[in-house]
């Protein structure tokens, strides 16, 4: 913990430099955190696409506390019904002649309550091949993230690279006690060709993922039934069983590549980005068994456009995301090599699980880019999601199609020395179609599959209120206090969330 904070401090310290007066810090920070930042986000994929970062410098150091609570039926079982988190975070972006430097870091400690049916971290990534017990409980986590990168511009070409490391441990403090250690390494190179109005870029990303799952039952003589889940309530009966300890290692390699293109002038700008990735994760157990392999194939395509309109700027963005998850299962047969020496030998393997997710989003934002004046901005967005899961033999399926729409109205209100920023959001998620077919008559079905299905295909209205107050602390230091509140409502069930953040910009 101390080491992590020291690293965090060093990273933050390195990004601080004096000389930015508070007014320009205020404008640059407001631009960096403006609602239209997400409309042109090539830089998130391509470290060389710094043209899409609207500022020359930005440094932020903050602490955020958040908490949430949901009624039964208004949360995913594996997510828990409530959470609290404290996050210490920093981010920086600096331009220095032909170089750009940027970095992010955070330390997170959080707790999720009443988490059920998973003894692993990153359950969405590793589903459906999770190990779980039927007890569940409070899940705690400590996680840190460090990321840094730089670009260099040589004539028309900007070369960039970004590296990131995420580490963490998550655990439960009552039996059974999982202690899951996660480490993720990223290398993200990119290049961008810029010629006047055109920017064309390529990027790649390699991610190495590892999670060591170690579960212990500390009470002597007590054993817990560990389920090796396979989706739809199916679990492997050959290896599931009562035990007082269990280990599994998930190792993944993810490769991403893609292009970004931008065409723009002072009046308008158009961005396109396409990214494809493949992430292959092996779940390995003792005796050299790798019973599960999960493959995620993903395509993301986005197109955005901004245009001057009525003395304001209209931002439009369309995004399509397709994700295919394939679960491959290997069966093993026991063979005795000599008395007492057993080897699990390969018997058969096949793809048993498939999930196909289509997601299309469209949003439009009308805002004044001049943040030194009072302005009101409006945003409308539509989000369509189509998710189909299949299990092959027995043939089970789940299908959910949802659409949601939301409207946001926000203000930017610069006062003499400080600024008030706020927004109000209201939306509604409507289920268009859904079906579930499975016939596993067991506890997992009753306590996980059906509650999650009910939640995912329920109609929900949601509301969000955000207020942020920026104020000068010294000549080069800007303080921010923000408060967020969210509410979800489905029939008589409610879920709420709050965030309080204090941060400094310099």
């Amino acid at each position: 913990m101390r080491v992590i904070l020291q690293i965090l401090f060093l990273l933050i310290s390195s990004t601080i430099f004096a000389g930015n007066v508070v007014d320009s810090v205020r404008i640059e920070s407001a631009l960096y955190e403006s609602p239209w930042r997400s409309y042109t986000n090539s830089f998130e994929y391509n470290p060389a696409a710094t043209f899409s970062v609207p500022v020359k410098y930005f440094s932020n150091l903050g602490a955020t506390y958040s908490s949430s609570k949901a009624d039964n039926g208004l949360h995913l079982v594996q997510e828990g019904d409530g959470a609290s988190a404290f996050k210490l975070h920093s981010e920086s972006f600096q331009v220095d002649k032909k170089y750009r430097f940027f970095g992010k870091a955070y330390f997170l400690t959080d707790q999720k309550n009443n988490v059920g049916w998973r003894d692993v971290e990153d359950y969405e990534l590793l589903s459906p091949y999770l190990v779980a017990d039927s007890i569940g409980g409070t899940y705690k986590r400590e996680s840190y993230f460090l990321s840094g990168g730089a670009t260099v511009r040589l004539r028309h070409i900007e070369w960039g690279i970004r590296a990131a490391y995420q580490g963490g441990v998550s655990y439960r403090q009552v039996d059974p006690r999982p202690r899951n250690t996660v480490s993720v390494i990223h290398i993200n190179p990119g290049v961008n060709y810029s010629n006047g109005k055109w920017n064309i870029g390529w990027f790649g990303d390699y991610e190495r993922y590892r999670q060591n799952v170690d579960i212990q039952v500390e009470k002597e003589g007590r054993k817990i039934y560990f389920y090796f889940m396979q989706g739809f309530g199916i679990y492997n009966r050959q290896f599931s069983g009562l035990d007082d300890t269990f280990s599994r290692i998930y190792k993944g390699n993810k490769f991403t590549t893609g292009f970004n293109i931008n065409f723009g002038d002072k009046i308008q700008s158009t961005d396109a980005l396409i990214s494809v990735s493949q992430n292959r994760i092996d779940g390995t157990e003792n005796s050299n068994r790798t019973p599960y392999q999960i493959t995620h194939n993903q395509i993301t395509a986005q197109l955005s456009h901004e245009q001057k309109l009525f003395k304001q700027t209209l931002f439009l963005k369309g995004l399509y995301n397709f994700r295919q998850t394939i679960g491959n299962e290997t069966q093993y047969t026991p063979v005795t090599l000599s008395p007492g020496i057993l080897e699990w030998q390969f018997a058969s393997k096949s793809d048993r699980y498939q999930q196909l997710n289509h997601n299309a989003q469209f949003s439009a934002l009308l805002a004044n880019k001049n943040l030194s004046r009072f302005s009101v901005w409006e945003q409308l967005s539509i989000d369509w999601q189509n998710s189909k899961q299949n299990y092959y033999y027995p043939y089970y399926h789940q299908f959910i199609q949802n659409i949601s729409g939301a409207g946001v109205v926000g203000i930017n209100y610069p006062l003499r020395k400080c600024t008030l920023v706020g927004s109000v959001k209201a939306g509604y998620k409507k289920n268009l179609s859904s079906s579930l077919f499975q016939a596993e008559n067991n506890e997992i079905t009753d306590r996980l599959i059906i509650p999650d299905y009910d939640f995912m295909h329920s109609d929900i209205s949601f509301y969000q209120l955000n207020m942020k107050f920026r104020f000068p602390i010294s000549k080069a230091l800007l303080g921010n206090i923000s408060v967020d509140g969210g509410l979800q409502n489905a029939e008589t069930k409610k879920a709420w969330s709050t965030n309080v953040c204090f941060s400094l910009n310099f």
Binding site: Q238, G241, I261, T333, G340, W344, S348
Partner: protein, 399 residues
Amino acid sequence: MKKHSFIKIISLTLIVSLAFSCKLQEVPFSNILIGISLPSDAVSAGKDGYVITLTNIATGRTQIDTTDATGQINLTAEEGVYNLEVTGQKTLTTTVTSGSTQQTYTQQVEIRGLLEKSLVTGQQVELNVELQIAQKGNGFVIQEVYYTGSNTPANGNYYQDQYIEIYNNSDSVLYADGLSVAESNHLNTSAISEYGNYPNDLIVGAIYTIPGDGKTYPVQPGKSVVIASLGINHKTANANSPVDLEKADFEWYDAGKDVDVPEVPNMIRNFCYSNTIWVLHTRGAHAYAIFKAPGNYTDFITQNTVSVLTASGSSVPRVKIPSSLILDAVDLGLGGIIGSKSLSSAIDVSFSYCDASYNGKSVRRKVLKWENGRAILQDTNNSAKDFIPNATPKPWEVE
């Protein structure tokens, strides 16, 4: 020109992306030809009417079919590892010729067989199950095995209150003299059985025998004998113990190493793998059998001692008990799971279990029916059906 290039790049990337989506590796299926082989003394029973249950050990899914006169059936199943169970109710007819007269006897028997953890891969697989006539106990049967032990108030482990109860399931007086309790050498937690070369024997690591001259210890119909690890009131030694065994009929006793309660007669330690005391495995993990050796035990053990290899590769002596001598037996697992069985399907086609060690639970035989105030316990040689798992220990009680 530039806009065309833009569209070309986007189109090319989309085409590559669509091709990127993987084709699934389909679930492979096998055609399984299942055949049965009848024991020589049951050939006349014919091969039709046997119920075949094929169970995938990973998915737990089963397929059930019945044989015709050829004794064969074809099933299609996904590749994997399977258990194959065969059962059939048959009437055997035996004709005895004595001089010029012939007498015909009919006998209702259950014929069964079990093939454990068979690998099914490839397009065509043939499996053959050797069947045996199930031996049903209408004499002594195991009524209860309390092996888990109990937890102490200080959260310690207490195993001294273990016992085995043997019940006279017949309608006549039986004598417990010479009746032995044996523990399988095989650990049921192992994924596979290592004694496949002894299909008609049970390899055991412990044999304790009730003394007597043949008529010393009569057991009335519907009554039982309780064999304790230690014949005391365990409720005073451990408040959490569920049993008082002060009136136990016998103790298994390891002279010089064990605590002896003089009021309770000791069994004879005829054979034991342990150099110290014998304790029932608190997680089950073994089969327990009762049998009577023909003649004296010293000769029986000498004649039936075999060498088996341990995990470390050393050779150790164990005793093989022919299945024909076993009066009753029960295979035990843990929490509804068994790695592999100790007993042949003719003796016990399944297993019973408790959920954990030291939980104060036992496996207890069910009552089939009551006749004139006497309970007849269920004995179909199928412990999953005959026994109540996670039962509350109740020595000398029938309910």
